[in-house]
């Protein structure tokens, strides 16, 4: 069938772009090294210092860009499909805000200085707490509106608590550290971060990818979906738990990175015939490509100013969203 093969082509092109950007991310950085030398060093060949740079600095950064970007794109597509709302994104159901709160508390209490994984672990704990509240509030029938409203309440509360921590922070240095962390970045992450994030994100992806059929059916509304044999309570559980595991872990190591989960599904939707199940893999690839691209730009634009990744995604994402709203409005007239 023509539509099916068209979909395959889209995925192959997206995968090729992602791979190219992954290689670009590996080979661009302050240490000015030739492309072939850096790839050689990646596998342990050549100069010792360069091997260290490639394996300990560049590789984890590029891997995290790939993993976190895919997570944001995938969960954005899954949540938009589940909530039947093109404005949904991982931040909407309160996962990012609670994970941030956990991380901020880790910095505030000094735990993060004591051992490296305290911060991501606290952030994960924050995300899981948000899931428990979502489950308790949303009830058994799995209607999306309750999830949205609960998520907004969780986000507001977590945001307020984060402000309180900033407010109470003992000295300007702690406050600055918290602020910088919250901006979202892939700088100075190491392989242990990758190993920490990988199992959680992989588990989350597995849950989110199982949503495909249900999301297609939900396009016709919850009642129609249920009448076609879709278990709405199970769908809610997959969407919330999958997002919490993957986005919770992603936020835990990189901070909150906005707009990727919102914009990527929007851009790719027309390319996959607007079918939610097809949007899942496409958005995962698109998210990875966008984050790798932005993270490379961060290094190219101002190598010595350490522009934070989350800042750049918002600066690029927000105007893009203006354009999107504008073109939608024109199409609607």
């Amino acid at each position: 069938m023509t539509i099916r093969s068209h979909f395959r082509t889209t995925l192959v092109v997206l995968a090729a772009i992602t791979l190219a950007l992954f290689l670009l991310s590996l080979t661009i950085g302050p240490a000015d090294v030739a492309f072939s030398d850096s790839l050689h060093a990646l596998f342990g060949g050549g100069e010792e210092l360069l091997v260290l740079v490639m394996q300990e600095i560049r590789l984890p950064r590029a891997l995290l860009g790939l993993i976190v970007g895919a997570t944001l794109g995938l969960s954005g597509a899954a949540l938009q499909g589940y909530l039947r709302n093109p404005l949904a994104e991982p931040g909407l159901i309160g996962i990012s805000a609670s994970a941030s709160l956990g991380a901020v508390v880790a910095i505030y209490t000094g735990l993060s200085a004591l051992f490296m994984l305290a911060l991501p672990l606290m952030a994960l704990a924050g995300a899981m707490l948000a899931v428990l509240v979502l489950k308790a509030m949303a009830g058994v029938d799995g209607r999306p509106l309750t999830v949205i409203l609960t998520g907004i309440a969780i986000s507001s509360l977590a945001g307020a608590m984060t402000s309180l921590v900033l407010n109470l922070s003992p000295n300007p240095f702690a406050a600055t550290e918290i602020m910088y962390w919250m901006l979202g970045s892939l700088t100075d992450r190491s392989m242990p971060h990758v190993w920490l994030v990988l199992p959680f994100t992989a588990a989350g992806w597995l849950l989110l990818f199982r949503l495909g059929r249900a999301l297609d059916a939900l396009a016709l509304g919850p009642d129609a979906a249920a009448s076609m044999g879709i278990d709405l309570a199970r769908v809610q559980w997959l969407a919330v738990a999958g997002t919490a595991l993957s986005v919770g872990a992603a936020t835990a190591v990189t901070g909150a990175i906005g707009f990727v989960g919102l914009v990527v599904p929007h851009v790719l939707r027309p390319l996959v015939g607007a079918q939610p199940s097809r949007l899942l893999p496409a958005s995962a690839l698109g998210g990875a490509a966008l984050l790798l691209c932005t993270d490379t730009l961060v290094r190219v634009i101002a190598p010595d100013r350490d522009i934070k990744l989350g800042v750049l995604t918002a600066i690029v994402g927000a105007p893009f969203f203006f354009w999107l709203v504008w073109s939608h409005r024109r199409a609607g007239l």
Binding site: I3, R213, D216, A217, A219, L220, G221, A226, S227, I230
Partner: protein
């Protein structure tokens, strides 16, 4: 011979008993109109049959208790056309019709020959071939209604339950839809559809179930159900009821002078 038996079906929503002990037995080939005023419990009755709301009582198809089946298995017996016709995304007509096959094939399995045949048959039957690759969101209300019916047909179930399928359609589309339901019934399906247009209900349905405050107020052939007396009791309207070629014409003309006793008692 398929027989759908609904026994003593009751459903309670937010502490209020919305459907109260309704029973109905319909055989294959029948097209039953579900009528009654707003809030009489028509939608909840249909949703309770489908297991979409917690309900007590029994819904059986050829003796099989439908509540005891897994959701996907139940979906191979009952198809449902909800009142809501919004499609969240600009999916193609073909993709929407294909959703009807979800209960039939395993997760991640590619569509089988049988699936494709069912989708093709539904698209052809609803005359959608020209729209096949168009986005459903770009279609008119009448066209969109046809796509959703095709989706339900692709589900290939012996029973179709439709909630106000006539709402928002012009007379031409309304009559075409009633004709289709009658044909589908004649092919051996069981059709139950809720509706407000009493003339269309009288002319096209072979049976009517009149719900009033959650209970079955009257049930049977249209001429037996649609009397001046029941219309006054249930809808509190005076109606002109006339016989014409092809069935009754039921036209409410004014509010009834007689006060509904229950309102004061």
């Amino acid at each position: 011979m398929s027989i759908l038996t609904i026994e003593n079906l009751s459903a309670t929503l937010a502490g209020k008993r919305v459907v109260d002990g309704v029973s109905l037995t319909v055989g294959k080939g029948s097209f039953t109109g579900l009528i009654g005023p707003n809030g009489a419990g028509k939608s909840t009755f249909l949703r309770a049959c489908l297991g979409l709301v917690p309900a007590s009582g029994m819904v059986r198809l050829d003796g099989v208790d439908l509540a005891g089946l897994r959701a996907a298995e139940r979906a191979r017996h009952l198809a449902y056309l909800p009142q809501e016709r919004e499609t969240a995304w600009a999916m193609s007509v073909e993709a929407v019709v294909a959703l009807g096959r979800l209960p039939h094939h395993a997760r991640f399995a590619a569509p089988s020959e049988r699936d494709r045949a069912a989708i093709e048959a539904a698209i052809t039957r609803m005359d959608l071939s020209a729209f096949r690759y168009r986005a459903v969101t770009s279609l008119s209300g009448g066209e969109r209604a046809r796509v959703l019916i095709a989706r339900a047909l692709a589900q290939e179930t012996p029973v179709l339950l439709a909630d106000e399928p006539l709402a928002g359609l012009d007379p031409q589309h309304q009559i075409a839809l009633m004709r289709l339901f009658r044909e589908l019934a004649a092919e051996g399906r069981i059709i139950i559809a809720s509706m407000h247009d009493l003339t269309l209900a009288a002319r096209w349905c072979d049976r009517l179930l009149l719900l009033h405050r959650g209970r079955a107020h009257a049930e049977g052939r249209p001429e037996a159900v649609l009397t001046a007396r029941t219309l006054e009791d249930v809808y509190t309207v005076e109606a002109f009821i006339g016989a014409a070629a092809g069935g009754l014409i039921v036209q409410p003309v004014d509010l009834s002078q007689k006060k509904d006793e229950d309102d004061h008692g």
